[in-house]
């Protein structure tokens, strides 16, 4: 029997494997779809009873009261304030570390420090919450007392600061990657002109890696916005309009978790409200991710 080698042999096993692999990968799309469907479908029930206008413009969030009001603003101010504090800590520290590791440290030092710092990102957030409440808050209370600032036991300042420490590795590591992707020839050019390492770093490398660095900061921001346990434990859980980091305040995430802590009142407006809050959170973080991703793609294509 002559075999026809011009024909491709049918290999059912190979085909089955490929289908299986594809199914596993496509599962990721199904999860995203599931998340969006779950959050949106319950939010629709919420917005059938509460107007979008009230949700966006009201400054009172009291879903558990007899006369409930649903303005997302207090939760958003809580989230923004804690995120702002976190970024105030993480951006300068993270970028200092990134510039140091990328432009100054020997590869040996870098290979030791980078993974050790990454341990910070692996600490369970509930442990960070404990740390913020019982270590950082008393420390800050003592530090701020001479300035006449009476820091309450629950406050967004200490929660935000600890959150900032947590996201240092994300910002440092991703920014360092962006800086190291800058071609050596650009550094050499700068050195040849007589610039020092610092001048090269700040005027050549950082500007060249800027979109990657901004992407890293936005990803860190997205982490901070979505963080739950630290703000829930150390930040207080009362939704009020937050104007200062020394206040207590509830974030979007803390509110969702707090409602879920009791017996979840399935089927009520209160139950729907955690999905509406979740929808706001999801849109915020997806937007951040999208921007960060676009920026990082840009810096990858630059050279």
């Amino acid at each position: 029997m002559e075999r026809d080698f011009t024909k491709k042999r049918a290999r059912p096993f190979e085909r089955a494997i490929e289908v299986l692999l594809f199914a596993a990968a496509a599962f990721a799309v199904a999860i995203i779809a599931g998340i969006i469907i779950a959050v949106v479908s319950e939010s629709v029930k919420f917005f059938a009873q509460v107007s979008v206008i009230e949700f966006v413009t009201s400054t009172v969030w009291t879903p558990t009261f007899d006369n409930p009001q649903y303005g997302i603003a207090p939760l958003l101010t809580g989230t923004f304030m804690s995120t702002l504090v976190a970024l105030a800590v993480a951006v300068p520290l993270g970028l200092l570390v990134a510039v140091y590791l990328s432009e100054f440290a020997s590869s040996r030092v870098r290979e030791t420090i980078k993974p050790t710092l990454e341990l910070l990102a692996g600490v369970p957030t509930v442990v960070y919450g404990y740390f913020a409440l019982l270590f950082v808050t008393p420390l800050l209370q003592d530090a701020l007392a001479p300035f006449g600032i009476d820091l309450p036991g629950f406050n967004l300042l200490s929660a935000g600061m600890v959150m900032g420490l947590m996201i240092i590795p994300y910002i440092a590591s991703l920014s360092e990657d962006a800086m190291r992707a800058v071609p050596g020839a650009m550094r050499d050019g700068s050195f040849a002109m007589g610039a020092t390492r610092l001048e090269t770093a700040l005027r050549v490398v950082v500007p060249a890696a800027l979109s990657g660095i901004i992407g890293a900061v936005i990803l860190g921001m997205s982490r901070a916005v979505g963080e739950t346990m630290i703000v829930m434990i150390a930040g207080g859980q009362q939704p009020t309009m937050v104007a200062s980091p020394t206040q207590q305040g509830a974030t979007v995430t803390a509110f969702i978790a707090q409602i879920a802590l009791g017996d979840i009142p399935f089927g009520t407006l209160e139950y729907s409200s955690i999905f509406a809050a979740g929808l706001a959170l999801l849109m915020l973080t997806l937007m951040f991710n999208f921007i960060a991703f676009a920026l990082q793609r840009r810096f990858r294509e630059a050279y």
Binding site: L21, Y100, F131, L165, G226, T228, A260
Partner: protein, 377 residues
């Protein structure tokens, strides 16, 4: 005239002079080190605080006792057993799906819109806040699929959460295997899957395992989505049985109030161990091993679990539907109590949790380091 008389050293000390620029350059190293030390100092302070607050409470008894309203008596038995079972479930879902998806995206995926959709989904999944996965779990798994507030629901939810970690690690590991290896395998007649299975995967394995360890470590510390599922804060039972535990067997199906669905029916039962039978009218009668009885539905046989029962209770079907608590939820519960004694055991639980996650992360880092050293293409 006077400017010309100045010694050249002063020119170097000028803000734009070389000496000052060099000084700024080397002093930046100090700033970089300070920033790094703040990060590392946090880690040290964290461990010191937990050891100081709760170190004295970590003992063998702490692992072997249930939580209690008396902080002096309370332990983390139900919490760590719960964490273990949830993580086993998580791994069972996340590892196969994550690794297969990673292989597909790196080795098989054609450049089509479908593939980019998958890639966008994976990237976005990594950025979704963990509490949103909790909303998915409540809205879909608990409400629609009726999986209950169970270990199964918790395990699936956490597996979705760590899926991107496993997928990304697998992709990177597979990508780092040189093309030559694939070409060599294909050239001697291997099919695509044979080349992948026998030649690419073995080299990629350490990288894949690193990703799995980091994902598992994240799942162990995750709290927020499990709060939404209703991980219980006070659990004084184990989803599995130990030899010597009391064992209750209810005859026939009962409704949620414990009343038999078919009160007139009865079943023939062989008693396994000595114990007591409680009849539906609450009258008790002692029974012996080996006795054969016709018992009405709604009766309860109370005996002592033997090794056979204990081993059988470890089969997933037995505990997947069970309610649970996990280490981080237990710690959170104790942290939110006002009494100082509860904060001590919260710190002790935190110490155990931190030790586990740092150990896992540390071993992942070590593995990655060894991998980089041992393989030279």
């Amino acid at each position: 005239m006077s400017a010309a008389a100045e010694p050249p050293n002063d020119i170097a000390a000028h803000p734009k002079g070389l000496a000052f620029r060099r000084f700024k350059d080397s002093s930046f190293i100090v700033w970089g080190l300070i920033a790094t030390l703040i990060g590392l100092g946090t880690l040290v302070a964290l461990v010191a605080e937990l050891v100081n607050d709760g170190g004295h409470r970590v003992s063998l008894d702490f692992f072997l006792t249930f939580p209690s309203s008396d902080p002096a008596e309370a332990g983390i038995l139900s919490a760590w057993v719960g964490s273990l079972l949830v993580i086993v479930t998580t791994a069972a879902f996340a590892i196969p799906i994550g690794v297969l998806a990673g292989i597909y995206l790196e080795e098989y995926a054609p450049k089509t819109p479908v593939t980019s959709a998958i890639e966008i989904a994976v990237n976005n999944l990594a950025g979704v806040p963990s509490i949103i996965f909790g909303l998915l779990a409540v809205g879909l798994f608990v409400q629609v699929l009726n999986l209950g507030q169970s270990i199964l629901t918790a395990g699936i939810t956490l597996s979705l959460l760590i899926l991107p970690v496993v997928i990304v690690a697998t992709r990177e590991a597979v990508r780092s295997v040189p093309q030559d290896i694939r070409h060599a395998a294909l050239a001697i007649g291997a099919t695509k899957w044979q080349a992948t299975q026998h030649h690419v995967l073995p080299y990629a394995l350490p990288g894949v395992v690193t990703g799995i360890i980091i994902g598992i470590s994240r799942a162990i510390g995750e709290t927020a989505p499990l709060i939404l599922i209703g991980g219980l804060t006070f659990v004084a039972f184990l989803p599995v049985t130990l030899p010597g535990d009391a064992k209750f067997t209810i005859i026939g199906a009962v409704d949620e109030y414990g009343a038999p669905v078919t009160p007139d029916a009865s079943e023939r039962i062989v008693i396994g161990n000595d114990g007591v039978v409680v009849m539906p009218d609450f009258s008790e009668m002692p029974v012996e091993a080996g006795q054969v009885l016709d018992l009405p539905h709604g009766a309860t046989v109370q005996t002592v679990a033997d090794w056979g029962d204990a081993v059988a209770s470890w089969s997933p079907g037995h505990w997947l539907g069970s309610e649970f608590t996990v280490m981080p939820i237990q710690m959170f519960n104790w942290t939110s109590r006002p009494q100082a004694e509860f904060l001590e055991i919260a710190a002790a639980a935190g110490l155990v949790l931190l030790a586990i996650t740092l150990l896992l992360n540390g071993s992942a880092i070590w593995l990655r380091y060894r991998l980089r050293r041992s393989i030279k293409w």
